[in-house]
Each structure stands twice: as C-alpha cells, then as structure tokens.
Amino acid sequence: MYNISDNTRSLAAELAEKIISGDQPGTWLPYLQPADAGGGFVTDPDRLFAASPQALAGKIGIWVADTVEGQPCYVRDSAKVADWRLWSNRHLIPATDTRKRIVLLGESVARGYFYDPFYCPAMELQQQLNTALPQAEVIDLAKSGMVLEELEVMFRSCMQLQPAAVVIFAGNNWTYALKEIAYGAAHIEEMTQALLQHDYNAARHFLENQLQDVIAAFMKRIAATAEQYKVPIIFVIPEFNLADWKSTDKETTASRLAEDLTNRFLETAAAARQMKAAGNWTALQPLAAALIQLDGVNPLGYELMAACMLAGNQPADARKYLEQARDTVVFNRVENHSPRCLTVTRKAILRAAAAYRFTVVDLPEVFKALSPNGIPGREFFLDYCHLTDTGIKAAMQATAAALAPLLGATTGVTAADNTAAPDPEHRALAYLFAASLNARFGQPEDILLHHCRKGVAISDAAAKFISLYASLSNRRLSTPLCKSYEQITLEKMAEQYNKGTGLLHGVARKQMDHVLVDCMVNALKEKGMDLSEQVSRLRAKEHSVRQGSVNLLDSFYNLFNSYVLTGEQDTHYTASRPQSSFILMADNTAPVQVKITFRVKNKPHGTVRLWVNGSMVMEAAATENWQTHMPEVPATVLKNGLNDLQLEWPAVVPAGDSVFSETPLRPFASMQALRHSLRLYPVFGEIHTFTVSA
C-alpha cells in the first residue's frame, strides 16, 4: 500500500477523473468497498447518547464530587468556569440530604432566562411547595441551551443525588437533535423521493418522523433509568408564545418551488399583505389558503390565516393555524431559528408519558385555560418561549400541584405560597433584555416598545441601562470593548441574560439595533427623559458617511443578509427577496457618491433600481455579469439621520429555477449538509461592492 505502483496510481487517477467530471455515483460506486457502499453513517439514534455510567460517576453537569468539611458533596468544577453562567449559581450541593430532593432539569426556559440568577422556576417551585412539602428541597440543575443529549446525561448523573422526584422542563431545543444525526444513503434516498414529489411537506413529514423516533428512543431510555432508580418523573411540556411571536422576514422568505410556483407564491404573498394592511379579511383568507397550499413549510400562509380567524372571532381555529406556523421550523429552512416545542414533540412526550406512566404538566393546556381567547401571549412570555414572572408562577403552580401528591403530600398549594417574585430592578432589566432579544429576532416594533415601556415603568434602573445600551449599540467598536458595556458589567446590570453575554454580537456581526434603540428612547421620552439628541449625535459620529466611506454590506447597515438564511458569510450579498434594504447615516448638506457592483443570474429580464428615501437614483438593465455603477445621490434626496436605501430587483424567478430539478443523489455527511446544498431560496440578485462616500 505504501508504494505508489503504477496500477494503484492510475486507478486513483481514473476515479478522480470520473468523480470530478461529475459522473453519477453509479459509475464509480462499483469501486467502493461493498461493506460501506450502503452508507457508513450514524443512523441509530441510540448512538447519539452513548455516555457510559463510568463516565458519569462523580460528575453532575458542572459539579464534581468532593469533600468539604468532611462531608461528601458536589462542587462547581473550576475547569468548567466558562460554563457556570449557563447553570444555577449554586456552588455546593451536598451528596445526600435528609429532606426529599426534587431535581429540576431543563433548558433556558427552566433556568428562568432573563431573570436568572435572581428569580427562576426552581425558586418559585420551592416557594410553591412550602405548605405541601415543607421538608422538600428543589435542586436546580437546569442549563441554558441544554439539548436532548445533555438532558439524558444529566438525568442519569443526577441519580447520584438520590432524588425523590425529577422534574424535566424541556422540549424547546429538541429539534436540534435532528442536526446531529448523519444520514446514510438510504435516508438520503428517502429524502430525495420526498423532494421529488415536488412538495416540501413530504420532506417535512420525513423529518417529523425522525424527530419522533429520536424522542421515543430517548423516552425509552429515560424510563429504564427511572425504573432502575425508582424515581418518579414529571414532564413539564413548554408552550410557545403563540399570540405575540411572529415569524421573521427571513422565515417567511419564499422558497424555490417547483416549476413557476415561486412566482405564484411571491404574487400571492404580495396581494395577501395588501389585503391584510387594508383589513380585508374576506379577500385575505383564500390568498392565505393558497400560500399554505403552495408551500406548506413556509409559516406565512398559516399566520395570515390565523389573522383572518382572529378577525372573524374564531380563536380556536386561529390557534390551530398559529401552531402550524410554529411547527414549520422542523424543516429547518432558516439557520438558527428560535427554539420551540413542536406539536410532534408534545405528542411524543404525551405518548411516552402514557406508556411509561410519567406525570405530565401540559403548559399548552395550562396557559390556554389562563388566556382569555385561549392564545397565550405577552402576559406570559418575554419572547418565543421564555416566561415572564407571571408565566413562571403559573407554570410552577401547576407543577407543584402535580408534584405534591406524587410525594405523599396531604395538603395542596396555598395562596400563602405565592410570594416569590423578582425585585423591581431585575424585573425591569428582564424586560429590556427581552426587548434586545426580540429585536435580534426581527420582532415587530410594537412588541419591542411594549417590553421597553414595561421596563421603564417598573424601575428607574431602566433609564440608566437604556442610556448605556444606546451608547454601545451605536459604537462601531465590538461590544465587549465598549466603555458602556464595561459600565453595565461594573454596575451589576449584566448578571442576568447569561451574565450579559446575551447582549454581545458575533464577531463582525454587530448591528446598530436602531429600531430597538429608538423604542427605548421613545419609552424613556414618555417618562420625561429625552436621549434622542444624544443618540443622533453618536450615530453621526460613528457612522456618518461624512466620517469616511461606508460599506453598506457591513452588518451595521445591511438589514437582511444571507447569513441569517444560510449561516454562511459570503464575500458578497445575496438577495433572497425582491427588495434589499440598507440604512445610511448621512445629512442633507451635500451629495454622496454610491459605488455598487451587482449582477442578476439566470437569464435576467428587467431592471435593477436603487431608491434612496423613496427617490430613484439608479436604474440599470439586469445582467448576468457583474456591473458597476456610481450614481450620485443629491443632497435634496438625503435627510439628516438614518436614510433608507432600497434595491429593487427583477421580481420574477426564472422558470425552472427549482430546487426539485437538482435534487442531490450523492451522499451527504449530514442532513444539514444536504439542506445547505439544496439552495432553498431563489436568488434575485447579488451585490459584491456597495459603498457610499461623501
């Protein structure tokens, strides 16, 4: 093998030639090892969870076995200090206790994200059990971002604490398990067949079945461990913010559909949005139905249909559509969608609970009963799934009520037990952090303003935070180095929200968050404090074109970049929608010079137009090759402050530009890789250079 014989080398060259020239695998697969030709990938979900009992001994999450003052215990592992912020800040857990121990496992919703470490579900549960189980101790082992695999490891390892019961409050992050599975040739073939039906729904059902299998296997193993240790389990099924969490622009972007259906989707969506804006629900309903028919994995149609149902005072039907909109993410069209508990997840938990006799607290039912129209919203949620203190209280009341009899309590939860609450400062900050997260996920202005107003109304601490936040958002400097972020840290305003790391942006992905900052400023103005001048000055100093050439493709100015769809940062901007939006900080004292290099692939027809504040400043015939234009924007078109730039592309997708015409046949290392290769979105145009100079 080590000698390069002419034979092996020529065989290698021959295979390379076949593979690189794009020959179908059939021509070179015969050269493969028969044992591996069927796919050497991980196909068994059990293999995802291969933590051995030996590996778990002496470890429980970030805690490791130790002895303190002669007593065996678990203390936080200093080697894992980087992860401490994701867990409860309890440093030491005795190995044993005379009290009944209730372990709470779960994800960020169980951590009390936004309030933690000052208030969280474990604290609330402890309080709620005061009367019913005064000798019980709730041990908080929930972790922000916990995924299914970790949850199982934690479930096994927490047995070392000899719990009387385990509460599992999780389900939002379980769709990510699908990303971990690599698929072999058989699965790819199944997926391919699903796609060849020219319908994403078939592929979606394939993935739902996969998720169901993964959860079922997980539940089976959990049940076996619970049986081994004779520990009862209570599953708390999370609910989604059905009323107020909206699918983002990226999530409602049209997919590449079969034949000419993408164009029909675009036309229908445009008409539907017009009808919605006009409040014409009668005309909207068939359009929404058509959108669902055209693309069942796009949430737009379902959400519009829900709006029609609500307008028609049919909340039960509206709820069904909102649930369907929520569930579309299983197809995972968008990279890093917001976490959520899907119908398939809930059903899988309920099914397993029935089979293995787990107790279930079904929060969808709990919140439905507490919501006037049966659709929970901002009263209970700070974002897609994380709860307000009201929501936490409601969820833990239901949990305590289910738990108490399970552990032999003879009395129930009483009103006197309902006293836990975050203090006003931390509560106010929770709302402002929530506003920040809502803004990152492109939520509408009204919900941002709602959270800002709540924060400002609750505590004066909000004003100080807003002042600092407005400063750090408008700096070009990355957030961790900003003086204002340092002040937030030093003034202990970054203890919540994962120790303030939720406020940070990824490297080179900082945004101005101008809509959010404006909402914060407006909320403060209503209380008599006006920061608008200060914010405008800082924006001009940091971002104005008068300070130097501005690259509009930078994350500050590019309001919808391809990264949010694909997770890839290309050298150039890819427009997945017929319009591309940018902002420019300028003034009306002098004209500015634009330099733009763009192209429109796939036999383009029509024109490309650039609009500044509603005035057209460039019009050019679309071409397949890159073309550069340098239009001047007159001072009369510009305004002081943020200017709106819209690039309008030819809105028609070329016939035949369909994902289904290029269904992959070759093997992929993962479903994620396959999804990337599909290029799910049409490309209306691309920009390579987009600068503005004074």
Binding site: R9, Y31, D36
Partner: protein, 588 residues
Amino acid sequence: MSVNIIGISALYHDAACCLLSDGKLLAAAQEERFSRIKADPSMPRKAMNYCLQEAGLTIADIDCVAYYEDPKEKLARQIWSQLPALSESFVASLGVGRPEREIRELLGFDGEIKYYSHHMSHAASSFYFSGFGSAAILTMDGVGEWATTTYGKGNEKGIELFEEVHYPHSIGLLYSSITSYLGFGVNDGEYKVMGLAPYGTPRYVDQLYKLIHLGANGQYTLDMRYFEYLKGERMFGEALEELLGAPARREDEKMTAFHKDIARSLQFVLEDIMLKKAAYLHQQTGESNICLAGGVALNCVANGRLLREGPFEKMFVQPASNDAGGSLGAAAAAHLELTGERASRAKMAHVYLGPSYDTASIGRTLQSTSLKYHDYAGNEEQLLAATAERLARGKVIGWFNGRMEFGPRSLGARSILADPRRTEMRDRINAMVKKREGFRPFAPAVLAHKASQHFDLPHDSPFMLETCQVISPLDLPAITHVDNSARVQTVHKETNPRFAALLEYFDELTGCPILLNTSFNVKGEPIVCDPEDAIKCFITTDIDCLILQDFIIDRAENELDALIMILRNYDQENTAAKGIRRDVYTFV
C-alpha cells in the same frame, strides 16, 4: 487596460489571497487574520474583499483567479491514500469540486480560473519575486498533490520543474512526524523543534537516518514502517518509538535532554539532506542563484547553513513560504500565462501588504473604550521618543504600525518589542506575554546599516529567514540563542520608515540599534490584524504598553480587571471548536 489577477491558496491550511495588478503586488493577506481562526483553511472571503478594497477594484475588474493547486491531481492522491478501502462517506467528505464551487459561489467570481500545481505555486512564489534573472529552485513541504519536493529552474521563459519526489515520501512530513513525536503540534510546532535543537546533541542521527533513504539524483524515500500518517490518525507508529527507545512525549510532559537530542539530530539530518540535494540541484542547473519555498524553507537555520556551506552564491527565500505564499505564486504564474511577461523583475522588498488603519478611526475606537491613552497624532518624533524611552526602561511594547505583514513573520508592523539587552526579557515574554514554551528564542530586528557590527551577516535579511552568529560587542541575552545564533531581521527605512526611526531613537538613547521582535499574538491565536485585535491582545497579556499607530496606552495607567473578565466571557462565546487538528496532517 489593466490585468488584474487574484491569487488564492485555500482548503488545506493557511488560506490566503493576493491581488496582482499589471504584475504589481498590491495586496496580500491570510484569512486567519480576519477570521481569527489560526491557520484558517477556508476560502479566503474576507482576505479577498480586503484585497479588492485595498486596490480600489471590484470583482468586475478581476480578469482571472489563480488557484494554487490542481484539484484533480490532488483528488487522485487523496483517493489513492484510501485504496483499496475507498468508501462512500470518504468520497462525500472530500468535497469534490470544492475549489471551483467555492470560488464561484462564495467569492462570486464568474470569470476564468487557472489552476497551478501546489509546488509550481511555491516555486513561482519564490522565483518570480526573487529579482533573479535565472535561478535554481528547490521546494519542499509536507505534500501538495503528489509532489513533496521539487527541483526546478527559472529563467525568462518561465519555470521548469524537472524532478519531483512523491508522496508519501516527504522531508516535510518526516520533520512533522518527529515534531509530533516530541509533543508539539503538526504544522505549528516545527518551528519549536528548530528552536529546541541547539539545546541538544546530535546523538540520534544514525537512528533518524533509518527513517529516510537518500536515493539517486533528487530522490529519497521514507521507510513507511515508522509512519502512520497515511491512516490519518497520527503521524508515526510504535516502530518509531521502539527505534528511538522511548515513547513519544506528551504535550504537557517535561522536556528532557533526550527530547533536545532528538530535535538536534533531526535538524542535523534535515540540513544534511538539504545540502546534498542542493548540491545535486546546482549540478543539474549550473545556476549560481537558488530560490526556496515550501514550508521547509521556513527553517531559517537550515537556510543559513545552505547559503554558507552550499554551492549557491545567492539565495532568495519567499517570506511566505508556507501555503499562504502559494497564492502569490499562482497569481504570478497566471500573469505570465496571460500577458507573456514576468510579473515582476524586482526583488520583493517588503511584505507590508495587509490592511492599515487611519488615525481618525483608531482615535474613535479608543474613545469608545474606557482606556486612558496618549495621543501623538501629527507628532511622530515625540511618539518615537516616548516609545524608545519606555523600551529603555524595560517595558514590553505592543507595536501596531501601518500595513500588516503577509506571511508568518512579524516584521515591525504587528510586533511585540523589547530591549534585547535585558536577561529577563526572554523568560518574561515567553511566560507572561506570549504564553508559550520557555526555551523558545526571540529574534532581533536591527538597523540595516548597523547589522554587520553586531551579526555575522554579510547581506540584508529583511524577512528573518536565516540565522547567523552574534558578534555584537553588546551583551544581547534576550535574542542570542544557546548556540550564539540569532534569526536577524534587518530593518530598512525605505520599507518601514517608522520602525527604522524607532530603532534610531532607541540606538540614540541606549547605544543599541537592536530590538527584540516577536509576533504580536499569543500562543494559539493568529497575529493581530486590526486595532481591536491589538487592544484585546494587550489587555489579556502582560504587555506593558500598546503603541497603536499614533497612540500610546500604558498598562500602569489603566485598570483592566473588568475588561479581562469580559473578554474571557466573550472569547468563550465565540471561539469554541475553532481551528484545525494539531496531531496529524489532514491529508484529505
């Protein structure tokens, strides 16, 4: 009408991009500097955007992209390495057609793509930038397509590579295997082995010569019983441990005399082979000049010996001899092919080809921080005097100045500087600043016109690519290696006027025209690129003062504890699972 060529090396390690406009090298940068992923192999998206911006061009202005490897030949070698156990999953993992696909889709280039073999790119990166009318060419590295070593000749007509040594036989992989045996990372620790070698004695030359058999002409073969890199799990096998009589060193294990002796023996074998093969090359070509490139050419100790003891009168080593430099070679080869003319007849004078940052933007950056700083904008003399004074007081300086260097060496644009006369400097900078192994030497930067008073170096050495003996009347413990050698950079006011001026100021103040010069980074991180990187590195290390172009920031005047904690959290958020494997070459 200009001819604009983008050169690219990528998808293995050290991805880079350069822009050649009418044969003039306008910009070049490694992707790692922007992505902050050490040795980032990914298609150089950010580096290309930088190159276009620097040149004032757009993608529409580019005539050709030149890629530094032949994908089909490489694929054949990758497939061969797995035969007869070629699997579907392996083929899937290869990313067949990836270079073209990514150039089209990620870089957005829709014009002509030209491919040049890995070693042709290395050869061209050296010869076409050497200033020689004709020269012999020797390239050596781990592996490209099939070739691991090539012998060639360059002249007005172009480059001819007339002999190759083929994978798996590779002097580069031999060196990397022993590097791995000594507990250092592959493609990262070779430089450490070279630095360790002078501490040892060449007791194991005979054993190491059992690993390699020198064949006729330029050929050699490795005895593959001792190596396992074909299997992809580790570089060497148990047979090597038996041969050397000791198990491999773990990364955290103490360094013993045995390890130093192995390093010295390896260095001896490398130099011996290079001298023998250079003699063959000289005999074949009759040239008096030699051009070197490929990762092995970064072994400046071997280079120095080759020039001193070998048959060639003049030598040029491509300063970016690693794979990053392949981008330059591919671009220069494409230029010749497209225009019929050589890209440049002049010798590459400097490597300041990366981004620079204007004083106003740096000022805005500093104003956004809580840092206290001194502003010397428009007052260079005071800035340099203040910097020299701090150096003379024993301060360790982070020096951020002008355009960033291209290639692996810091040469006075993104450097850490210190007084070379201070005994404690080496240990302090290794431990507290660079956070790396204590035995590693530091290099001197010296005013070019005073170099011969302090170093046995009869010619310029602007790229720190050869070693020589220290002959200085000054005591220079921080830059003098245990064997009295130093890896010298001669500094020229024509190519880096501010750095040269700083040396003048320091000389005037202390009588020493030399500074300790090491790269501005910490272990495991790329060299800093922009002001933010420099500030972060300053905050999280023990650097005393940061000279950020026209601004000076003193650690003693700043309370940095909160920022250190914040940056630690931020890094944990952003740097998990980055980088490439260190224990073996990833040949696929």
